[in-house]
């Protein structure tokens, strides 16, 4: 069976804080071809840092131009609740949009912001994955609460808590909730980290993610490919887990 690699945590476009040499959809496809990555889930940097409408429009355009390479994750900014309702509706009419992205950090809030409730309800109704920037204990605790309320949505802890002490706490929540998983996206790629995460939560609960093009994906992929996992565990981590989650997404009712 051919290996399938799907990157569950990618962005798109240039960035204010540093130079991103390969930031276009075409750059990302070149990178994916080089490492045999089939598809990438994307939420553009612009939607995290500035223009939420422009950023989501870039995601939609990219998904429509390259439907076999990119899966759209709609970024929800809780500061624009009315706008988000119409934008969500517009986005999910496009077939390749399959998830929600929340970056409460760049949006200056936390997951308990009441404005997020609309998107949690939406994700719950359509069994969507919600990719959440998970960098601290507060976020991990909030996901623990919310995942119990919205049982049909899948909460992806992006970055898995970021540092080992938080990863232990994130693993406790992932183990206790059927609908919570974590991803491999970190800039501090510790030796032996992949095996350790899998040993804590099992290979079905870890997704392959890299932050491309925020960070070059090759170091992360290399550490997964060379990790001391069984072939079956590696295949699940690299692609089968996110495929299973995306196959569970319900069609949007237009």
């Amino acid at each position: 069976m051919k290996r399938r690699i799907i990157d569950c945590h990618c962005h798109l476009g240039s960035y204010f804080n540093f130079y991103v040499p390969g930031h276009s959809p075409e750059d990302m496809i070149r990178s994916m071809d080089n490492t045999e990555v089939e598809m990438a889930c994307i939420s553009p940097h612009m939607s995290l840092t500035s223009d939420i409408v422009g950023g989501n429009a870039f995601m939609l355009e990219t998904v429509q131009n390259h439907p076999d390479r990119f899966i759209g994750f709609f970024t929800y900014n809780p500061h624009f609740p009315d706008l988000m309702k119409t934008e969500l509706d517009k986005a999910f009419k496009i077939k390749g949009v399959k998830g929600i992205k929340i970056h409460q950090g760049t949006h200056g809030t936390n997951l308990m912001n009441p404005s997020y409730r609309y998107t949690y309800d939406f994700a719950n109704r359509y069994h969507l994955p919600i990719l959440i920037h998970t960098w601290d204990i507060q976020t991990i605790n909030e996901i623990s609460v919310l995942s119990g309320e919205y049982m049909n949505a899948t909460f992806i802890m992006g970055h898995f808590g970021a540092v080992p002490s938080n990863m232990i706490k994130a693993a406790d929540v992932i183990k206790s909730r059927k609908n919570v998983v974590g991803d491999t996206t970190v800039s501090m790629m510790y030796e032996g980290n992949i095996e350790w995460l899998v040993s804590m939560v099992g290979a079905d609960k870890v997704l392959y993610g890299t932050d491309m093009p925020f960070i070059d994906p090759r170091v992360c992929l290399g550490r997964v490919l060379a990790s001391a996992l069984s072939d079956s565990e590696r295949e699940r981590l690299l692609g089968q887990n996110i495929i299973r989650i995306l196959e569970g997404v319900k069609d949007y009712e237009i």
């Binding site: 540093f18 510790y190 960070i215 170091v219 290399g222 060379a226």
Partner: protein
């Protein structure tokens, strides 16, 4: 042709904080190097970084004497307090122990000293005279100090390690300005960034490193193997540039 990998950014020895999956013994380091296809490594001792250079450096000497593919790098200090040899004595000691590279940790959180001439001048003069490559983490020196160091010691090869993925707006102008600046790859992680940097300044000053045992060795190797560059450029990065630097040392 199989690439030869020579890791320029590696340490060994027990630390007071460990991460799951990490290791501290030279034997495990050698196992990991073999598993990942790394033939040689330039290694300093964690005790020299976290405790005291004069006590840690002999530990890496012992290890490198035992294992031929572990090459020692010493952590050094200015000598003024009398706790570390003066540059003339130091250079003789390095020669005696075949140490051809050094590392500094001058930040307030680590060894806490100034790199200005009144403090580190004679030490840096000695390194420059003998073309001994100086390895330093970005977080240890800061961008303002790196500019001053490169400007004041134009013949001193300085290898900037653990740069992070947000550093290109500093690295590009510094590398274009100073021929004596080199960068290490383990955390040089902007997307397609090594290819872009190679286009801007060439591949002669990019050096393969892992940051083991803290960071992933396998990922660091795969990164270089999968660079979209000609094989001769990958070979320079993987080992050729470091071998050239070490061969140019005048000890």
């Amino acid at each position: 042709m199989e690439l030869k990998f020579f890791d320029c950014n590696c340490s060994i020895g027990r630390t007071n904080i460990t991460h799951p999956g990490s290791f501290d013994s030279p034997e495990v380091l050698l196992e990991k190097m073999s598993e990942y296809g790394i033939s040689d490594a330039l290694v300093y001792h964690a005790v020299a970084r976290d405790h005291f250079p004069a006590e840690g450096n002999p530990l890496i000497d012992d290890i490198s004497a035992k294992y031929e593919n572990i090459h020692p790098a010493w952590v050094i200090l200015p000598h003024h307090t009398g706790e570390f040899p003066n540059p003339a004595v130091l250079v003789n000691e390095m020669k005696k122990h075949n140490v051809r590279a050094v590392r500094i940790f001058p930040s307030p959180q680590r060894h806490n000293y100034s790199l200005k001439k009144y403090s580190a001048g004679s030490l840096l003069d000695m390194l420059e005279a003998d073309r001994i490559p100086l390895f330093v983490d970005v977080d240890e020196i800061g961008w303002t100090n790196i500019d001053a160091l490169l400007n004041d010691y134009r013949n001193l090869p300085v290898v900037l390690c653990n740069t992070g993925y947000r550093a290109d707006r500093y690295i590009y102008p510094l590398m274009k300005t100073y021929e004596n600046l080199y960068v290490e790859t383990s955390r040089l992680l902007s997307h397609l960034g090594i290819e872009a940097l190679a286009k801007a300044v060439g591949t002669d000053r990019i050096l393969f490193g892992t940051s083991m045992p803290l960071f992933t060795g396998s990922g660091a190797v795969y990164y270089i193997k999968k660079l979209m560059l000609p094989e001769k450029d990958k070979a320079r990065i993987a080992s050729g540039n470091l071998e050239r630097l070490l061969s140019e040392v005048r000890l």
